[in-house]
Amino acid sequence: MTSSINARAALLSLIILFIGLGIWEALNQPPPSTEALTEYELMMGSSDSEARVPPPSAVLGRAWEELSNPFYDAGPNDKGIGIQLAYSLYRVLLGFFGAAVIAIPLGFLIGMSPLMHKALNPFIQVLRPISPLAWMPLALFVIKDSELSAIFVIFICSIWPMLINTAFGVSNVRKDWVNVAKTHELSQLKTAFLVILPAAAPTILTGMRISIGIAWLVIVAAEMLVGGTGIGYYVWNEWNNLDLISVIFSILMIGIIGMLLDMALGVVAKLVAYEE
């Protein structure tokens, strides 16, 4: 039964996919025209007076086209999907790892010191609920660079889940394990690296997974604002071009890359997981 449940789930997924695509395709067919198209109608592609969501067949065709040459660069407004995604990934990863470098040590400090926890908690509680995009104008003014401002926005939205999870993981390390470190005369630094870090690693990784998820959500909006390059800019640019096929295609790509980012951190989380 256990081996067949995967097969049955896959089958069910495929059925749902085809039914969904079928409905989508069927609902968005232009009505057949009865007379010859006028010149205007020819230019618009059909005699349909109503704009319709492009059917999945059109999106698949575009996907094939785009993915067969993802890295072409034909000027500022015409770059391959691969280049746009690479820009977005670069910003997300830079902001995310920048946040990790600050958040994890700071989280350790907060987790290990009740004093620091009490002192820093009010700041965290006020700063955390701020929408990362609200920082954008200030970032643009201070940094004076749209690229760096986008990275800063990713940094600021990634920092909180990692900070809070690290602090939580560190402060909840089982007292027995800390006692083991104490009775073995481990120094503070050795205790942090040999006992507390491995003990808190699964919780820290959970924070990192939440962070990268949020960062990937935010980069699209940030790039719509700052423009120039990136998948968020691409979506907005295609909307301005009224190219809904490309909009839907890029929405799908955003979902797939987001899933891959989460899976990558999932693999790391498995490496540091332990069973009590």
């Binding site: 027995d176 394990w177 006692n179 083991v180 104490k182 009775t183 073995h184 005369e185 481990l186 040999l194 006992v195 491995p198 003990a199 540091v272 332990y274 069973e275 009590e276």
Partner: protein
């Protein structure tokens, strides 16, 4: 008292609470000689674990001091190894790593090869040479406690502290590990201080059994000498004529639950009364059993033991 390797002097612990301070124990005096195996028995709440934590350096006494090897102890140290009740193995390390990290901490100058060889030797002594690469989650409770014991012995502490090490184990496993513990102890000549709730376990293992009166204001009331010859084993020890005298004495004490009165009860000072039940005339001892409130409990315990 100057001959004692470990000397606990007038130790007390007071916990502040809303309804006034609670003195868990006071005027606790314990002397342990080098190489001795000492067990401490008392009802829950009398502060046994607190005494152990103070000895380990993980807790501070309200007053009094602990002197080991001529020096007052302060803070945790590798000189005092601890086996915790819940094993406290680090779950992300293998069996061997759990022992070797302690050995490496104890002997910073050793090479990794030497550390691993030393660690495997001690794991071998507790019969775990086949499980070196396993994680604690893959081991049974008994095997985990064996790793913990191997870790403590492998660091060769001057004093080994065991906090109810067999409390969570089933009776069969407990018996086997008790004998393994006795074997390692006789080979290494460690000084051991152990908390237990099991009277038979204490008689099997200890040179002296310290009996604590009930808290609050608990004290070490008696130090019972176990004169049964070593090496001991579980099946032969019950045939020793002294065994039931000692056992009755301990059970009597625990059933009667002597309540401490604050320092006024100074009939024998603060030094525990030293008792050797083997020397007590059996007639008097029997008389004593009859005078207690529930002699049937003690008798039932004894019958149970004989059946086993």
């Amino acid at each position: 008292m100057s001959k004692d390797f470990v000397s606990v002097e007038n130790l007390s612990k007071v916990y502040p609470s809303a309804s006034g301070d609670v003195t868990v124990f006071d005027n606790v005096n314990i002397g342990i000689k080098k190489g001795e195996f000492v067990c401490i028995i008392g009802h829950s709440g009398c502060g046994k674990s607190t005494i152990m934590n103070i000895l380990a350096g993980l807790d501070e006494p309200t007053s009094g001091s602990v002197i080991m090897d001529g020096k007052e102890i302060s803070g945790p140290s590798l000189d005092r190894g601890v086996v915790f009740q819940n094993y406290s193995l680090l779950p992300w390390l293998t069996t061997l790593q759990n022992v070797s990290f302690g050995v490496a901490a104890r002997n910073p100058s050793w090479s990794k090869v030497k550390v691993d060889a030393h660690s495997s030797h001690y794991l071998d002594m507790v019969g775990l040479s086949a499980a070196l690469k396993k994680k604690p989650s893959e081991l049974s409770g008994g095997m985990r406690q064996r790793v913990s014991i191997a870790r403590a012995f492998a660091t060769s502490p001057k004093l080994l502290l065991l906090d109810e090490p067999f409390g969570a184990l089933d009776a069969l496993t407990r018996g086997v590990i008790q004998e393994e513990l006795l074997k390692i102890w006789s080979e290494t000549q460690q000084t051991v201080f152990m908390i237990t709730h099991d009277v038979d376990e204490a008689i099997l293992l200890a040179d002296h059994i310290l009996l604590m009166s009930n808290g609050p204001n608990a004290r070490v009331a008696e130090s019972v000498k176990i004169s049964i010859a070593r090496p001991r084993n579980r099946s032969e020890i019950i045939e020793d004529p002294a065994y039931y005298k000692i056992r009755n004495h301990l059970v009597n004490f625990l059933i009667n639950c002597p309540k401490s009165t604050p320092s006024s009860d100074n009939t024998h000072g603060n030094i525990p009364l030293i008792v050797d039940p083997a020397l007590i005339d059996s007639a008097i001892n029997v008389e004593k059993i009859k005078t207690i409130d529930q002699p049937s409990v003690a008798a039932a315990e004894i019958v149970k033991k004989i059946k086993n």
